[in-house]
Amino acid sequence: MRAALLIAAKDLRERLRDRTALIVAVIAPFGLAAILGTVIPSGDGSLDLRYAIADADGSPVSTAFLEGPLAGLSDAGIAEITPVDGADAARAAVDDDEADAAFLIPAGFGEASRGTAAAEIELITRADASIAGQIGQSVAEQFAAELDAVRLSVVAAVAAGGVPPDPDEIARLASSAAEASSEPPPIVVEVASTEVAEVDSRTYYAASMAIFFLFFTASFGPLSLLNERRQGTLARLVAAPIHPWAIVLGKSLGSFILGIVATGVLVVASTLILGARWGDPFGVAVLVLAAVTAASGITGLVTTLARTEQQADGLNSIVAVTLAVLGGTFIPLSQAPEILGQIGLITPHAWFLDGLDELAVPASGIGAVLLPTGVLLLIGLVTGAIGLVRARRLVVTR
């Protein structure tokens, strides 16, 4: 065991002296996470919309629109409503990016909505502010539907009654229909807000870059075995009174430790500098440990499939990027069709990111990551065991 530790320590020292290791293990993932986190809007889920409204009507109906649904938007804290003077001013506000969308209530709208003439609220939207357009449209449509209900009630009552409409009767119907509109709605939309198990985008990029580069960091140890074989130092190690297992273990241990330290540094640095939120530290630690195990196992196995360092390096890169793409480290799987999400489950990357998603649920702890941790360990142990056996054979036969 002492020999294994000595080999691991010597490998680590060598790695740390070589700047490439530092770049691959820490600087590149951190740099990419930082860039991606800044260029892609974080989308913290809060809205800050700006609407202009030009009320050319000034009737009780248009006032009801302003004081009802529009005031509701600003009370909910998601929009700022600015009254403007006239349709041209409203259009200009949208064009000049002073408002994201504008409502125009044409003169005579209130009058028309009481009769049976067509009436329209106009909404001007800008294509690059689509959420403001969607919400504006929903709000206006909902208001229009309520007016429509009153109109339709009167017309339908007249049609069903089969009596020629008498102006007094219609006025009576209209006023009771308007009263009826304050009754509880026939369809109630019950909104249930659910917790979402998904990390925010900064954490996502930090985590996905960490697991992506981990597969390169973890390959240092197995690769150095091939390197020592080429240089002939492996034969000398075998000639020394060291058990072959100690050599293999030492080689694996070096990059295992490097993987844990590098990921740990990334977790701390991305939290402090990039504002990532990884969740319960204990859960993250367990997940990272399991992920490093999986990465070490897979790279160990892949490396022993190759004969030369170059071959192994190429093969490792291919496996690492393929697993990374399928596992959702470049493109989040939540955006992809379901089938891709299922394919992703063969990769350690997807399980690692899933585990972090679970930790994003407030007050979740280690219990939430038991399944991902278990799967990662299983992947690591199975591939690692095969890899170690093959690596031992490689050592024995030099």
């Binding site: 691959v24 260029v39 449209q137 909902q142 017309v155 069903a160 009826a180 198990a197």
Partner: protein, 389 residues
């Protein structure tokens, strides 16, 4: 300068790269894999997905679902059979929201019985837009139910008959509605739906990264003394430099042509004006060649050059909008991205995909030509020093 010799030097550079099996994966397979996954994930646009459970909810239930998915590009509707699956999908972030219509929705509405729809949303404000759309679609149907209720109270006609009457009348009375006019241009044009967006960004990302990964070769040649021996032969330094530059350029071109052709054939990506597309690919290949030669001339060992080259290539790609589309960048990053050649190349490709010709892409072509000239100039100067040292 001996062009024949220069081409021979260039050729051997390309051949060395093609002999590396794993290199072939990164040149030919990996970019297409990324374009495929990107297209499958974002090709349908960035519309949020809304899951719907509408089992036994009848015609009116279907109508409501249709109304919700009706506005083009607004919500992508996905059907679920089981409410628990739907809840799990909202929880995992696969769905922007979930809507559960009760069984017998249609029957209850026609009978004048109050009905409840369940909408499951994430806690964020952004869910407000989905909630608004659902409430607007529901309000449209509630109009009929309200009118039916009213008619039944006023005339003693049963609610279900009154519902029919209201439905008939609704078709005759002009509605009170909302007229939407949209101005401006969508940040990501419709012409880039499908695989176009991914193909453009991966073309630029990979041409550059592949060039950079070839930078290591140059150092290896220097370390092994191949370069010094070439200098000692009756070959002018100029010829060697042109050959090395042509080699890098050839590698980038090979990949560029492959990605353009393969995505056009396999995924039906329309790149736009072929001549102008070729101009962008050629100039960007020159930019990549220049950058790779510069790294190859300045870096001390091959590992360093490969490591730094590839990761710097990825970083510049991310910054220049070749990973996430620059259209979604915040204003500051949008400005910063213009210091990268990637951004100019992508902007140029966007112009062409939108139907523009070589004239529309002239500013971008000009900037790329400037980048290429400066990089190749610097690289030639540094390499001349490195080779004769």
């Amino acid at each position: 300068m001996n062009l024949f010799k220069a081409v021979a030097i260039a050729r051997i550079n390309v051949v060395r790269l093609l002999r590396d099996r794993s290199g072939l994966f990164f040149i030919f397979v990996f970019p297409l894999m990324l374009v495929l996954v990107l297209g499958l994930s974002f090709g349908g646009g960035f519309a949020p997905r809304v899951g719907v459970v509408a089992t036994d909810s009848g015609d009116l239930g279907e109508e409501l679902v249709e109304a919700l998915g009706g506005e083009p590009g607004e919500w992508e509707i996905q059907r679920y059979d089981d409410a628990d699956d739907l809840r799990a999908a909202v929880r995992s972030g696969q769905l922007g929201a979930g809507l559960i219509l009760p069984a017998g929705y249609d029957r209850r509405l026609r009978a004048g019985e109050p009905t409840t729809i369940e909408l499951i949303t994430p806690p964020q404000d952004t869910a407000f837009s989905i909630r608004g759309a659902v409430e607007a679609a529901v309000a449209g149907q509630a109009t009929l139910a309200r009118a039916a209720q009213f008619v039944s109270e006023q005339t003693d006609v049963p609610v279900s008959d009154a519902f029919e009457t209201a439905t008939q009348v609704q078709a005759e009375v002009p509605p009170i509605g909302v007229a939407v006019t949209s101005t401006g241009e969508a940040p990501i044009p419709a012409s880039l739906s499908g695989f176009g967006l991914g193909a453009q960004s991966q073309l630029i990302l990979f041409m550059f990264v592949t060039s950079m990964s070839a930078a290591g070769q140059l150092i290896l040649s220097r370390q092994l003394g191949v370069s010094s021996r070439m200098v000692s032969t009756p070959t002018t330094l100029g010829t060697i430099l042109v050959g090395e530059a042509l080699g890098r350029f050839g590698i980038a071109m090979l990949q560029g042509i492959f990605i353009v052709a393969a995505t056009a054939l396999a995924f039906g990506v329309s790149w736009g004006d072929p001549l102008a597309t070729a101009a962008i690919v050629i100039l960007f290949a020159a930019v990549g060649a220049g950058a790779a030669m510069l790294v190859g001339a300045v870096a001390r060992n091959a590992e360093q050059a490969n490591g730094v080259g590839v990761f710097a290539g990825l970083g510049i790609a991310a910054l220049g909008g070749a990973m996430a589309p620059p259209e979604i960048f915040p204003p500051i990053m949008d400005a910063i991205s213009r210091i990268t050649p990637h951004r100019w190349a992508i902007d140029g490709l966007r112009e062409l995909a939108a139907g523009g010709g070589i004239v529309d892409a002239l500013p971008q072509l000009g900037v790329l030509a400037a980048f290429a000239t400066v990089l190749i100039g610097l690289a030639t100067w540094r390499l001349r020093v490195a080779l004769t040292r």
